[in-house]
Amino acid sequence: MSGALSGTEALWVLVLGSLLGLELIGKVPPTLHTPLMSGANAISGITLLAALVLIAEAPTPALRLVGATALGFALFNVVGGFLVTDRMLAMFKRKGAN
């Protein structure tokens, strides 16, 4: 695997990323609870990056198939998640819009 990343660096990245995540979402209007959950869920499909690395580094077809399956499930999450969130958000209108 790409050896550029030392363990300490990776842990720093983890801590700072978590702190950022804690700060990002504060008060959420109730109208957005469902779309926000769905959108955040789509982002968590970013594990597709790991699947891509696995496909590239896999020495055997069997292992590549594992990678491709992982990629498929992650993309199901990502593509479906973003599209369904967009579908929901597109419906929200203020009064006077119709």
Binding site: L14, I25, G39, S44, F73, M91
Partner: protein, 470 residues
Amino acid sequence: MGELTLELGAVLLLALGLKGLAKIRTARAANGLAALALLLAVVGLLLQQGLTGWPWMLLGLGVGGGLGALLAFKVAMTAMPETVALFNGCGGLSSLLVAIGAAQLPTPLNLLGQVSVLASVLVGSITFSGSLVAMGKLQEWLGTPGWTQRPQRHAINITLAVATLVCCALVLKGMAVALIPLTVLSLLLGIGLTLPVGGADMPVVISLLNSYSGVAAAAAGFVVGSELLIVAGAMVGAAGLILTQVMCTAMNRSLTSVLFGGAMGAAPVGGADGTKDEGYKNVTSCSAEECALTLEAAERVVFVPGYGLAVAQAQHSLKELAKLLEQQGIAVSYAIHPVAGRMPGHMNVLLAEADVPYDQLIEMDTINPEFPRTDVVIVLGANDVVNPRAKSDPSSPLYGMPVLEVDQARSVFVVKRSLGSGYAGIRNDLFELPQTSMVFGDAKQVLQTLLQELRALGVGKVPAGAGTGR
């Protein structure tokens, strides 16, 4: 350096996207930004590692992405909670598969890499099986059987948890085979933790599992050595925790009572079977015609929509009725309980689908003081969220949950198919109050009869300008 710029750009866009998703004006654009961020991340990674194995990538893209898009376009808005659960479970499964695959690679993993594989397998499995159970409960394929409420469940789950840790230790000692029992046990643990939770609490569970899938992604980031994946996973994991807290606050539940307290109302209440009509004595019922007459004379009307309304696909009829009343100069608003629908904010989505403007949806804390000045409240397919017992009866499982105080209004009509109990299986004192009348029937049919009756009464035919809604 191109990849680095792309990766930094992706992190920035992800942060902006998550932040923007929490504000109504920016939410749609923010969702797009987050999607763009993921695209940039993929492009950056492919620039770095080349296109080795591209047919496999296309395969995953075509099948997974295609099915995801198909589901996203086809799924009914009423089924949103279970859809999110399904998507989330697949994210968890992906992290699980990556970790198992990475453990088979010829390059040996260092200690941090090994621990990350274990974390990814453990959390990925729990996310996967837990999300599927949540989906099954929301689809009502799975119930919450009585035996899941026994106190022994804690002992079973603790045993499972200890066993998974033993497997982890064995893998670290060099027994790679222990990954298999670890996966199985973690999957069982996900089921064991989710099955006893009542259907009404599923949104909190999904939100928490969503946070887990972020953690699983971050762990997968350690495994493959991707800073971007670690940042993004950590960000979603942490934001998911905050979101879970937001959901718990909205539902007035504490996270520990959701996870370990068992299902609300699963134990029989007061000995009587809550699903039977027995036990209700002084119920007044009336026809849609009578309801129409009361509506015609009203000045302020509040609708309380619930999940039953959406199931009957009656949002559009409701919107039509509201429009007719507004033309007559009657003030109309919608009272939205934080947990109306099957997850917080679900009812807002369902009414948005029927083109109801979101500024007509009034939150509970704003509308509750208005009920004493309201002439008519029409409850459509909502039950537990209007139960006055939540305020008065400390022995009720609902006690302490904030409810819409519709019993303060002058008259209340409850549109319902029968006197059956709500999703949580708890009896409702509202039905027996003197000012309450039950209108039995399918929500859509009742609304359409109301529309006909009101039109026959000449409602809505006043000259334009006589009434402007509110």
